[in-house]
Symmetry: D2
Subunit: 338 residues, 4 copies
Amino acid sequence: MIIIINSKTKPEKVNDLVNWIERKGLKTHITEGDYQNIIGVIGDTSRIDEDQVKSFDIVEAVKRVSEPFKQANRKFHPHDTVVEVTPEVKIGHGNFGLIAGPCSVESEEQIIFVAQSVKAAGATMLRGGAFKPRTSPYDFQGLKAEGLKLLLEAKKATGLPIVTEIMSAEHIPLFENVDVIQVGARNMQNFELLKELGKLNKPILLKRGLANTIKELLMSAEYIMSSGNENVILCERGIRTYETATRNTLDLSAVPVLHELSHLPVVVDPSHATGVARYVKPMAMAAVASGADGLIIEVHNDPPHALSDGAQSLRPEQFADVSRAISLIRKATIEANA
Amino acid sequence: MIIIINSKTKPEKVNDLVNWIERKGLKTHITEGDYQNIIGVIGDTSRIDEDQVKSFDIVEAVKRVSEPFKQANRKFHPHDTVVEVTPEVKIGHGNFGLIAGPCSVESEEQIIFVAQSVKAAGATMLRGGAFKPRTSPYDFQGLKAEGLKLLLEAKKATGLPIVTEIMSAEHIPLFENVDVIQVGARNMQNFELLKELGKLNKPILLKRGLANTIKELLMSAEYIMSSGNENVILCERGIRTYETATRNTLDLSAVPVLHELSHLPVVVDPSHATGVARYVKPMAMAAVASGADGLIIEVHNDPPHALSDGAQSLRPEQFADVSRAISLIRKATIEANA
Amino acid sequence: MIIIINSKTKPEKVNDLVNWIERKGLKTHITEGDYQNIIGVIGDTSRIDEDQVKSFDIVEAVKRVSEPFKQANRKFHPHDTVVEVTPEVKIGHGNFGLIAGPCSVESEEQIIFVAQSVKAAGATMLRGGAFKPRTSPYDFQGLKAEGLKLLLEAKKATGLPIVTEIMSAEHIPLFENVDVIQVGARNMQNFELLKELGKLNKPILLKRGLANTIKELLMSAEYIMSSGNENVILCERGIRTYETATRNTLDLSAVPVLHELSHLPVVVDPSHATGVARYVKPMAMAAVASGADGLIIEVHNDPPHALSDGAQSLRPEQFADVSRAISLIRKATIEANA
Amino acid sequence: MIIIINSKTKPEKVNDLVNWIERKGLKTHITEGDYQNIIGVIGDTSRIDEDQVKSFDIVEAVKRVSEPFKQANRKFHPHDTVVEVTPEVKIGHGNFGLIAGPCSVESEEQIIFVAQSVKAAGATMLRGGAFKPRTSPYDFQGLKAEGLKLLLEAKKATGLPIVTEIMSAEHIPLFENVDVIQVGARNMQNFELLKELGKLNKPILLKRGLANTIKELLMSAEYIMSSGNENVILCERGIRTYETATRNTLDLSAVPVLHELSHLPVVVDPSHATGVARYVKPMAMAAVASGADGLIIEVHNDPPHALSDGAQSLRPEQFADVSRAISLIRKATIEANA
């Protein structure tokens, strides 16, 4: 950690700050300049809250040099994490996860039909929303517990592990047989929920918040991991920008950046990012080429009659085409990176 | 609601869409153009999900004409709402709320000292965090239930109603004697929490999310109101932009926009918005001049030793100066708008 | 164009607006609702300025249905444009342009060495900056006319057509032998410059501005095209967002969106977008998979001693690896889209 | 300047970097940590290009401690600059500038009428566009030289100094009798233009670009000042964010931040920032309360028939009301800051 102070600061004020830091078991080193002095802080700076340093009024700026996340940090865990969903289905370090299914579970017939279609087309997991976060209280809120039951039926029928979103820690008991619990973008910083999920032993698919930085995503992963659960899958799903041609702006650079900073697997959601079915294929292909460990794609048997997010859902036959495209790009990507 | 379709669309496809709309009890009217036709939809369009309309593949664009919020909408409730916190302390329609206190409650001595100081300087409510949402799991997370108890002590000592943040619906019983429950920016779209708060009868101070639009803020207010609780106070606290000179960008235009769209009172938080104590005064003054119904300001007895957010906290004597400035600007604003 | 007015507006005020529109040779159609009426405007609405419509105080909202760009619009020119740089080097509709070279031209030796290296690795055009837009007046501003001369030497030595940036219309005569004139992000809305470039017959590579929408990029292309020059190549180079892990956020969704809205070729600049050499390869691969018609990549013989933008420059041997990767992804992309 | 390197870097590589820095006449100091070492660079670091430092591959991060702007920097010029427009009309350090007038000059009658109205209401300068930057080539582009002539007529008629926008350095001779030359948001980084304006002796009103940071605005001011012209007035006019309720998001925090970093006067443009006439009054009042040294406001005799930006223009009687409000808030602000 680097602290910048005015070079004309009274020595006793500098001493106050230095003592405060050293009482936390860290060392300091001062470099003097014409206008500013620099205090270098050495040691485990995750013990220091940047904000507290800033509140010393002699401080002009503070910069953290080491990232404040540890368990998610590649520096301390150089090898890629492989998240094991089932003994057959893994994700990370060369294991590619293709997650597909409807935005919302609507009926037994629908979810089983979609599950069979996406399985036939190459999906390795089934997604489907039972608890749905909707901007408007007047929109369809999901089938809830009933939806989870139908998902489990679809799992039984197809063998596909299931991925579904949780919206409150109170619902955890209902998720006992779910294979991967998804934390949606709006709950990425619902820290109470993250801590509870950290007590489970189940893979957690953690979506990046609409306006969260890559480092904040890793800090949220750290909440889960520091509570004991290391099975975290990160998900880039588009960030909010001024551009309105797509629903959000898919930040594919996040894929190599996350791989550099962290050992956790990274999947991409081109459906929510673009909000438009016809952009899903090119962005899915691009995500694979950027190095993603998996994709999560919305597929619906009858998009115009979907109860949510129909505009971004592929029909099963479109998904089959995307799946084929993904395989081609994956093969080329592996060769290009060999 | 306006739906744009290509003018070369086959009539039977247009009929499908029109029938789907009319089955929901709405009327349609088509205007034909050279390249595009326009379907005007008349009636209670909050029953229609924009996304479902977009999933008809003949649809090029959809634009909602009426806002999808109703209870928060000034169109249907033209008069300003006055939220009554206690019989003496009200907010909205000329009642100004000055909420002040530390980011976190740290000790009985601290909270009572700050409460007395801010009361003496003109504050009408006391804020203080007991449950603290922190980006890092390694930072101080608040005194929790103990913090709430200390806040109630400070209320007893000073008579100031208290405002404090909730992070999970499970904690609601602990908030029984709290006067105003705050929903933080990170939970603005924690819909499960909003629905539970909608069942209470207590004022809710709802902060705008970091990257949420003004309309989404109103939709979240709608969640609370449509569950039965009409005592909602809206709070602008800065949005995330590319500018890094301040922690967030305080969007003061939101004040007149919210007053135009909604009848709910609007307060501004210049402390979290800027993140820098020396910018709090000018932005507090600007907020009042823009028409805000109140302010929420961080005050700490000893900012450099605050357990959170010290960098943005005012000392009690600085707060007294800000309070005096606010009074002057309020008087001028009232005269300017007379 | 759709105009929303309050349903309680006095008829004579509505008539004023309708007459104003119809005097411009357009037709109108009114749909009545409970709270709002909708005026549909039919005809060539590019003649109407949205802002003027909004200034009628009865108007609540205006939405353009047809895009205001025409010559760049795929609706009126359904076939892909192929920009012919030289008889051998084309871009668009299956012709891929691989543009590489240093950020700045520094010396004859340097530019010829880089030109030979990138040509050997598969580049089809040479880029190099002679006039450099720099945020600080104290940074290196380019070799200017001398730099253009050196670029022409490199063209003579290698046969590669050259692409270089212009910063002022006054410099146009110096660009006579340049093959493609680049308009940088900061000048995307330097309309005086665009109009002058529209009088030339030379391909223009138009970069998207840091905070410009896709539609504004197309309106800037329209400035060039409506002045007579149809040889426009669009370039996505990252937009400004709150994320700081990369210099800008590369918006690859812009590639399919631009291809849908326009017939012009689209290239991607992963070097400026990320600002980090080690992210160039994955983002170049992703750009190709998203459907880009070309790439523009910075290559320098000795990045640490580059006079500008060394941090994002590849060494020649790294570029050769990227070029090989791009070929593999291109082949897979063509097959995936077949 | 602080440079972070990995603590395991080979000493000879560190030496390369250190020698490179010291050859530029600067000193270095190394602080060693567990994972990272910190090189402190002391001296005039504006001679070093951050980008070049980053291109040494051992460098993990670089942070500038001193700002790279000098002439605009309050550190080196602690006293407020007062820009003298005419002997009677000054701006900065307590001199408030109220600039008003139409977006575009349309006719002699119009500009003289507006000039007289705004003068009567308290304006100290007249604004009016002759050269208009428009997103669409099909929109009205201004009366150009003829417009400048009409502005000078209005100046003669009223005595108000005039402020008008320049779009190209080639037009400078036409601006001889203009009192303040405005550089619009889109040209904030048109560096060729800035350098030419730096050779004049006339006040320059420099608007912040749509997506430019406060520091970039100051670097652009530095371009003008380092070319010899110190009469720069900074202007905040809204930045581009995801919020669409207003045209841009007015960043009023920029006012205190700019006053802290620089000695130059700061004015605010609430008309372009909001794009909506009815939000101009509250935002003008807020700007004054935040400490602005002036305002620039659009006023038109007949907004619905304005040739540009009618939606944000006030009628003369509305401007008179805003002017009265501003006076009240100014008085209160001065008292509050006393």
